[in-house]
């Protein structure tokens, strides 16, 4: 086995450990609850109709089994894992008897699509502007842009999304402010639908990009202004290499790797931002799903969403970690 394979295997072991610890934490947090999910469910169901004691007893038995709540905590923990490995997250309560996994997978493409496009746009935009601002230090326009983006960075996602909503929803209403597509759109794949989906994603994506780009810009600018003072850059300048080429081949290339590592670190935080932004704009992803599940008291859906987000972020971080040694030979795969 080569050194790289050993590195990947070890990182994979770490991934499994992180997923295991994270999901275990989720399990134990939910089992600290004083709330009895079975009793809650029964009270919700019996609100709608008559209740005879025998039927309730049967219902209690079925629900206890469905939620995996028989036995002591340890037995429940084992049941929980054995079901999770088979991909069984139990039935949802708010949309009984649809399986939780089915509901989640309906919402997932929206979140992943929004998250990936917003992350990539802010990463490219922030790094490009940061490299330019670090290289052309005298430019006034670049200074103003940098200051603006850096100033937006500390503002919480919710507040920024809210400001955008007011600006483009009430003050200058040019963009749809809620939902992922037109209410009555027919969901066959067509050009009009794609256009509509893009239109609806502009504001949520903008909120994420505006907050995200500033930190990439600051990092890249600092890296670039350090690299610019290196001997090999001065040498290239004296040798008459064009500034575009210096920037592209000597400066940006060397500054990219720490930024890519940063990308992995920020994924967890981006996920937080996506969830919140979705809620503000009523975007049909897992963020909105999560909040609705909490309001509906949907025990298994909340548990499923939390587990899924841990797995998702851990895998994303793992992928970026194992890719970075391939991009830069200086990072040793140890």
């Amino acid at each position: 086995m080569t050194g790289y394979m050993i590195f990947v295997a070890r990182r994979f072991g770490q991934l499994l450990l992180v997923v295991f610890l994270g999901i275990s934490a989720t399990f134990f947090i939910t089992h600290m609850t004083p709330v009895d999910p079975v009793a809650e469910t029964i009270s919700v169901i019996t609100n709608f109709g008559k209740s005879d004691p025998e039927a309730i007893d049967l219902m209690r038995k079925t629900l206890t089994e469905l939620y995996g709540l028989q036995g002591n905590v340890f037995e429940q923990y084992v049941t929980f894992w054995s079901r999770l490995i088979q991909g069984d997250l139990g039935p949802s309560l708010s949309a009984f008897p649809t399986p939780v996994s089915q509901i989640i997978f309906r919402a997932l493409p929206w979140t992943v699509g929004l998250m990936i496009s917003a992350t990539l746009i802010s990463f490219v935009l922030g790094n490009a502007l940061g490299a330019l601002a670090g290289y052309y230090r005298k430019s006034r326009i670049l200074k103003i842009i940098s200051l603006g983006l850096i100033g937006l960075q500390p503002i919480p996602y919710y507040i920024l999304a809210f400001i955008l909503l007011i600006l483009f929803g009430f003050v200058w209403p040019i963009l749809p402010i809620t939902g992922g597509y037109e209410m009555n759109a027919d969901l066959d794949l067509s050009f009009a639908l794609v256009l509509d989906i893009i239109r609806h994603s502009i504001l949520p994506a903008l909120a994420l990009v505006l907050v995200g780009a500033g930190s990439w810009l600051t990092g890249m600018r600092a890296l670039t202004s350090n690299i610019v003072t290196e001997d090999y850059v001065t040498f290239a300048e004296l040798g008459g290499v064009g500034s575009t080429r210096i920037l592209r081949s000597y400066v940006v290339r060397n500054a990219m790797v720490p930024q890519l590592t940063g990308l992995a670190m920020s994924l967890g935080a981006i996920f937080n931002g996506t969830v919140i932004t979705e809620i503000v704009f009523g975007y049909p992803g897992i963020g909105t799903l999560l909040i609705n599940a909490v309001h509906a008291g949907d025990y298994s859906l909340v548990l499923g969403l939390a587990s899924l987000s841990i797995v998702g972020v851990a895998i994303a971080v793992f992928l970026i970690d194992i890719l970075s040694p391939l991009l830069d030979p200086r990072i040793k795969a140890e």
């Binding site: 992180v18 994270g22 934490a25 500390p154 919480p156 919710y158």
Partner: protein, 285 residues
């Protein structure tokens, strides 16, 4: 200490602005103790009054004076941020210094826990806590939960410094002169990482206050303690913007933006103070 602050004010405009904002906030906190109305009482003044000479920032639909609500809210929000920052600093110092100094198996175990917390998506976990605790989710509980989630990144930073401190001659000397590990960490290594701790405190406050606001706005915290997020929550639930009570929303949003910019400027200037290279850059300009 005094000379450092004086030089920072003189040569670092970000620090000076940040300091002014900080002083304004402290002023607001002091002022909040003179509030003529108890913080959670409603219908103490006529509702929906626009800003004028008597009610500087107008009144809310719940019959509260927006100005005094804002002052009390700022106090609670700041207290919240400081509480989380303080507790999570202690955690990150203990874990970071121990892991960096001890190395080996201790380091690996601590860093495995550290990394797990670092990648866990915090927002779903916080929502989960609310879902589980419901009415038991009070202000102190949220401080504890956020502190438990907010130390990992800084522990890694501190660990990296501690690892280099371990190889320095003075550490070896302390070991040979019979100092205990606890004593070495507290008396020898702690002073070296204090600047990092101060700089990360600001970042931690930005993060924790942001989380608190988001959770409050969604109604996922104790909505009876006035904070910045709680003000927006009540304004939203009374559809303040649609009914034209804009000052009810504008006051907390404006205060939050100023608060965050102040904290951010302070954290930026402190980072710069710690990193000598960027200090040289500034002098060069």
């Amino acid at each position: 200490m005094f000379t450092i602050v004086r030089d920072l004010i003189r040569y670092n405009i970000e620090f000076a602005i940040g300091l002014v904002i900080l002083l304004l906030l402290i002023g607001a906190v002091v002022l909040s103790f003179f509030s003529p109305y108890p913080p959670s009482d409603i219908y103490v003044v006529p509702p929906d009054m626009p800003p004028d000479a008597e009610f500087w920032l107008g009144t809310t639909s719940r019959g509260q004076d927006t100005f005094w609500q804002l002052m009390i809210g700022l106090r609670n929000t700041l207290g919240f941020g400081i509480g989380v920052a303080f507790l999570s600093r202690i955690l990150s110092l203990v874990v970071g210094l121990t892991a960096g100094y001890a190395g080996g198996r201790t380091d690996r175990v601590l860093m495995a826990i550290n990394d797990s917390i670092m990648v866990i998506p915090q927002f779903p976990i916080l929502v989960l806590f609310y879902f589980v605790l419901k009415d038991d989710m009070n202000w102190l509980m949220l401080v504890l939960i956020l502190s438990a989630l907010g130390w990992s990144y800084d522990a890694r930073l501190i660990r990296s410094v501690a690892m280099s401190l371990r190889t320095r001659p003075f550490t070896t000397q302390s070991v040979y002169s019979g100092m205990s590990m606890r004593k070495i960490l507290v008396e020898e290594h702690l002073p070296y990482v204090m600047p990092i701790v101060f700089a990360t405190t600001m970042n931690n406050m930005i993060w924790s206050i942001g989380m608190e606001i988001t959770l409050s706005v969604l109604g996922f915290t104790d909505v009876d303690t006035p904070t910045m997020g709680q003000m927006i929550y009540w304004a939203n639930s009374h559809s303040a913007l649609i009914s034209g009570i804009w000052w009810w929303v504008a006051a907390p949003v404006g205060a939050i933006v100023i608060l965050f910019i102040g904290l951010f400027l302070l954290s930026m200037s402190m980072n710069e103070y710690i990193d000598p290279r960027s200090r040289l850059n500034r002098m060069g300009n």
